[in-house]
Symmetry: C2
Subunit: 234 residues, 2 copies
């Protein structure tokens, strides 16, 4: 009877893990498609990203339902309890990464007709590269319950913050150079914020992976930050 | 024995409710202080808001821990299960409302030295008024488990979206009129986004209240939106 219960719990957990990995894949794809749509002004692609977000929302609801039922039925303790709580948190972060990608895609569709400034997009591409790497690494760290790898992701978030700060300054400069750049660059400002928040969610996931693997809670105060980011926002 | 269990569950729930109401009060205060700091360039007040955010984070962690333990120990079903899951969701939304207030406060401190354009702040004040009302109403709806009142909050979010759209356009106009307005107005753009997101979280809470009270899930697709907001972001 105990064996049966244990085995059912493991099955629940495997199902949850599979859904998390599916959510991760969808979120990564949404993000790169949204950036492609922004760079190439591809309105159709942008719309597909927006539509895909519903799949991510549904998956999150499914994960949350299953996790809550698992908690109530199996009453897991210690590491098993951390695993299930961790899954709930990670699915919420992945869902919000999807929201960021959706926001970029909506903006790509919205500004498709505006005057463009291609060099203003370059900094955003670098931000996306960094953010996508962070997301990939933290999903791998989760799959392997690798706390050390998760901590590296957590520490590297400072790079993305610093890059956002520099993109922010560049965009402001373009706007001051020529008022005709203002509308386009303003929209890019929001996209750069979206990418920075993808990094924040990857950092949250890293904290959750460390919590699952070790029971330890990382304190945000200890996280290294870009010199600018530490003092104040851009 | 059953009675004892039931009573313990009720005690857990009352404790959770009390913490939610405390979080709500702190979030409301943070938001109005952040807006005051922004309007009056009060750096000290802004710093206090940033510090207060830690209290909100701690409360959320405490609520989440207690809720998870309640789920695992008491195995609640039906409405009781919805109540506990609801508390987890609402505390997460309140924590993120605190983050929005913190972001506004950080920005208020950052731009205290910049050239200002007082008329640009007026639209933000109206947005804050609307958002604060939504938050107050949805907290009342939660306290009374009043699904109808929650639905009104949910429907009224369209007003805030429409107002943000108009603030966005105004700020862009100020920037185009005079490049010296660009830095200040850019920061205000982000603040208006923060306020819009406060409204989104109030809407999420409204959905959770309806779910707790009725078991029904409101579909985001059905929510009325501002004409602009429906088509595309700002």
């Amino acid at each position: 009877m105990v064996d049966h219960t244990v085995r059912s719990f493991d099955t629940d957990l495997e199902t949850l893990d599979r859904h998390i990995s599916e959510m991760g894949g969808i979120a990564e794809k949404m993000l790169s498609d949204a950036m492609d749509a922004l760079a190439t002004m591809n309105v159709d692609l942008a719309k597909r990203v927006v539509e895909t977000d519903m799949r991510l929302d549904n998956l999150q609801r499914m994960i949350e339902d299953l996790a809550v039922r698992t908690l109530a039925r199996r009453q897991p303790v210690a590491i098993d309890l951390r695993d299930v709580v961790g899954v709930i948190r990670i699915s919420a972060d992945l869902e919000r990464i999807g929201d960021q990608a959706k926001n970029i895609a909506k903006r790509a569709a919205k500004i498709a007709g505006e005057a463009r400034l291609p060099r203003a997009v370059i900094g955003l591409k670098s931000m996306h590269e960094l953010a996508a790497n962070q997301l990939k690494d933290v999903l791998d760290a989760y799959a392997q319950r690798d706390a050390d790898r998760a901590k590296l992701v957590w520490e590297r978030d400072a790079e993305l913050d610093a890059l956002e700060d520099s993109v922010f300054r560049d965009l402001l400069t373009f706007m001051m150079e020529d008022p005709r750049n203002i509308t386009f660059c303003t929209h890019l400002l929001f996209c750069s914020k979206n990418l920075e928040r993808v990094g924040d969610h990857a950092t949250n996931i890293a904290e959750t992976v460390v919590y699952i693997a070790t029971g330890e809670t990382l304190a945000s105060e200890d996280r290294p930050r870009g010199a600018e980011a530490a003092a104040m926002l851009p």
